[in-house]
C-alpha cells in the first residue's frame, strides 16, 4: 500500500479562479461586492434604490444570480445599467467560474462598481469566493433575530450586514438589538447598516459607504 499526500483545499479550483478575478478587478480599479441572503430579504430592492441614488455619480454593472428566470435582470435593466443574468438551473450558489463567464458581457474599463447579487440562499453561497472586495449579507426583520445564530457561516464570512425592512419592525416579532447582538457575537468585525428599501431609510448611509470605497 502506498499513500499520496495531497493537502489540497477541496474548493481550491474556485479559490484560484476567484484570485484571478480579484486581480482583474484590481487592474480595472473596480470596487466589487457580492450580496448574499435568503430569498426575499430585499437584495434586489436595495439594489434598485442604490442604483437610483448612485446613477450619474458612478458607472456600475450588475450580475444577477438566480435559480430560474431573468425577472431580477429585467428589474435592473429598467435603470439602464449593464446587467447579466446567470441562471443556475437548480444550482444553489454562484461560483467564480460562472462570474468569470458573465464578465465576458461586461466592459470592465467602463465601470467602477460591480454588484454581484447571489442566489437567495443563506447557506451555500458562504463558501464560494467570487473575487469580491466584500461579501454583504442582507437579513430582513421578517426573518427573525435568531438567524445569525442559526446560519453562522454566512455571517462569519461576510464583512457587512444590512438589516432590511426596518419599517416593518412594529409589526413583526424581531428585536433589532437582539439581531445586532447575535450577528456581532458570530462576527465581531461586521459593519452594520439598517435600511428599508420601501421607505428609503438608511439607503443614504449605505450609498455613502459605497462611494467611499470606489477606487480612484
Amino acid at each position: 500500500m502506498s499513500i499520496i499526500t495531497i493537502e489540497r483545499k477541496v474548493l481550491e479550483k474556485n479559490d484560484e479562479l476567484a484570485a484571478q478575478l480579484r486581480n482583474e478587478f484590481k487592474k480595472n480599479k473596480l470596487f466589487v461586492i457580492n450580496i448574499v441572503s435568503s430569498p426575499g430579504s430585499g437584495k434586489t430592492s436595495i439594489l434598485e434604490k442604490t442604483i437610483e441614488k448612485l446613477k450619474g455619480k458612478i458607472n456600475l454593472a450588475v450580475i444577477e444570480g438566480d435559480v430560474q428566470t431573468d425577472l431580477d435582470a429585467k428589474r435592473v435593466e429598467k435603470y439602464n445599467v449593464p446587467v447579466v443574468q446567470i441562471v443556475t438551473n437548480g444550482g444553489c450558489h454562484l461560483d467564480a467560474k460562472l462570474v468569470k463567464d458573465a464578465l465576458d458581457s461586461i466592459n470592465l474599463s467602463d465601470i467602477s462598481f460591480l454588484v454581484i447579487e447571489n442566489v437567495g440562499n443563506l447557506v451555500c453561497p458562504a463558501g464560494y469566493d467570487l473575487g469580491e472586495d466584500y461579501k454583504i449579507v442582507v437579513l430582513s426583520t421578517t426573518e427573525g433575530d435568531d438567524k445569525p445564530l442559526k446560519y453562522p457561516k454566512m455571517f462569519i464570512n461576510s464583512s457587512i450586514l444590512i438589516i432590511n425592512k426596518v419599517d416593518l419592525l412594529p409589526y413583526v416579532n424581531c428585536n433589532i438589538k437582539e439581531l445586532r447582538d447575535n450577528a456581532l457575537m458570530i462576527n465581531p468585525d461586521l459593519k452594520v447598516f439598517e435600511t428599508s428599501a420601501t421607505t428609503g431609510a438608511g439607503i443614504d448611509d449605505w450609498c455613502e459607504w459605497i462611494l467611499a470605497n470606489i477606487k480612484k
Binding site: 500500500m1 502506498s2 499513500i3 499520496i4 499526500t5 495531497i6 493537502e7 489540497r8 483545499k9 477541496v10 474548493l11 481550491e12 479550483k13 444550482g91 444553489c92 450558489h93 447557506v123 451555500c124 458562504a126 463558501g127 445564530l149 453562522p152 457561516k153 462569519i156 456581532l184 457575537m185 458570530i186 462576527n187 465581531p188
Partner: protein, 113 residues
C-alpha cells in the same frame, strides 16, 4: 450545503494527484472537514459513494476526519472554542479572537493498493 458538487471536486483532485495508470488502485481518500465548514460529513460520504461509480475510483472509500472549531483568544492568549460556532472565548466571554480551525475542507491523502 452542496455536497454533490463538493464530491465531484474531490474526484477531480484525486485525478490530478494520482498517476493515471494507478487510478484503479485508489482504495481511500482522506479528508479533513471542519465542524463549521458547512459540509455534512454523512451527506458528503453518501454523495461520494454515488459519484464514484461513474469514475475509475469505484472501490475508493472516503475517510473524514472532523476538525473542531478552535479560536485563539487575544485577551487570554490561549486557544479556546465555542460549540455554537460563536466567536466568543469560552474562558473570558470576550470577542477579540481569531479563528484557528474548524472552517476548512481539505483532501489530505489518497491511499493506493
Amino acid at each position: 450545503m452542496h455536497e454533490l458538487s463538493v464530491a465531484q471536486s474531490i474526484v477531480e483532485i484525486i485525478k490530478e494527484n494520482v498517476p493515471e495508470q494507478d487510478y484503479g488502485k485508489v482504495n481511500a481518500v482522506l479528508l479533513e472537514v471542519g465542524e463549521f465548514s458547512g459540509i455534512i460529513a454523512d451527506s458528503l460520504q453518501f454523495c461520494f459513494d454515488a459519484v464514484k461509480l461513474e469514475t475509475p475510483f469505484k472501490k475508493a472509500r472516503m475517510e473524514i476526519k472532523k476538525v473542531p472549531f478552535v479560536l485563539y483568544c487575544n485577551l487570554c492568549k490561549v486557544e479556546t472554542t465555542n460549540s455554537n460556532g460563536i466567536r466568543m472565548c469560552d474562558k473570558c466571554g470576550g470577542f477579540d479572537n481569531s479563528i484557528v480551525s474548524g472552517t476548512e475542507m481539505r483532501v489530505t491523502e489518497v491511499e493506493l493498493d
